[in-house]
Assembly symmetry: C2
Homo-oligomer: 187 residues x 2
């Protein structure tokens, strides 16, 4: 739970009492490589804060083709947000790419924490702000970027993921073939 405190305190300082209360809302879950946290049709009970490991979130289309929405590593928050916030069935898969630990937070817990503590409402707003900016950039990149630009942007934003994730998945994320990706790496 030390990691959780450090993570929140990057946004707002906490007293010991405050953190004691906050941590009661989170439960730890260990996840094995290739295990799924979410599959299409599931309820999205939790938002996850990743303490260690890397995840891949994707949509499966009618032909069984995987479309990667995002990767997520340490200190990232992750969920099928439509399902989580709007109480719909998930249509995203979340799978673990190496053994991992995550903290789980229910929507009820998230809302209660936010209502009780202005600090936590602020913390979640800041995290959403950063996430919102990242998604707006991803849309622009998908609409307007060519493979070279998407590759460079990914490398600039997430240099550690570039090292850790199999090239096959990076190619899928960027929407390019393995061959194109190899050419981009070679440059």
């Amino acid at each position: 739970m030390d990691k959780l405190r450090k993570h929140i305190e990057e946004v707002t300082p906490l007293t010991d009492d405050e953190f004691e209360h906050i941590k009661t809302f989170f439960t730890l879950k260990r996840v094995k490589k290739h295990q799924y946290l979410s599959q299409e049709g599931d309820e999205a009970k939790f938002e996850y804060l990743i303490l260690s490991g890397i995840f891949r979130m994707f949509h499966l289309d009618g032909d069984g083709k995987e479309h990667i929405v995002q990767f997520a590593g340490e200190n990232w928050w992750m969920a099928d947000y439509q399902a989580y916030f709007k109480a719909k069935k998930a249509d995203l898969y979340i799978t673990c790419m190496e053994d991992a630990e995550v903290l789980c937070l229910t929507l009820e817990g998230r809302e209660k924490l936010s209502a009780e503590m202005h600090k936590m409402e602020h913390f979640f707003r800041v995290k959403l702000t950063n996430g919102f900016v990242a998604l707006q950039r991803r849309i622009i990149s998908l609409l307007a970027g060519n493979p070279q630009q998407r590759y460079e942007e990914f490398g600039r934003l997430y240099p550690h993921l570039m090292q850790q994730i199999p090239k096959k998945y990076i190619a899928e994320y960027l929407g390019v073939s393995r061959e194109t990706l190899s050419r981009l790496y070679a440059k």
Copy 2:
């Protein structure tokens, strides 16, 4: 300013005194059809709440081709969020598609309101949550949807925009040709 109060009170009730304070943070701006609120290279001083009118937000690529990130109508919030939140130069254009009125809010004002009033921090968190979900859906739609699916989703989510926006721009937003769009309309 009545519209602003009604808009905020859809999320959280306000006293008269609270609203008197809140409204001092907003300034009204009238915008003419074809006028720009943001162009590439501008500072993004304001986030805009649209009181009336319709806007188009887009990125211009190196070849001068327009890529539409979003449309925005009444009661939508809109900004080049990377530029606004991260104090970078804008790389999005925002243009008015019919005469409009917007309320302008600086980042400093937004942060001050959020810090002073837990209610307003909550309001902005709720708005960001809804925006975040919409962007995650748009990414999935861009990655996995075919033109037919994208068209149906757009019509389902934004039936009023479908009526009001020239087909040329809807085709661009969906990433399809005018001919494909006409075929989809005809179905």
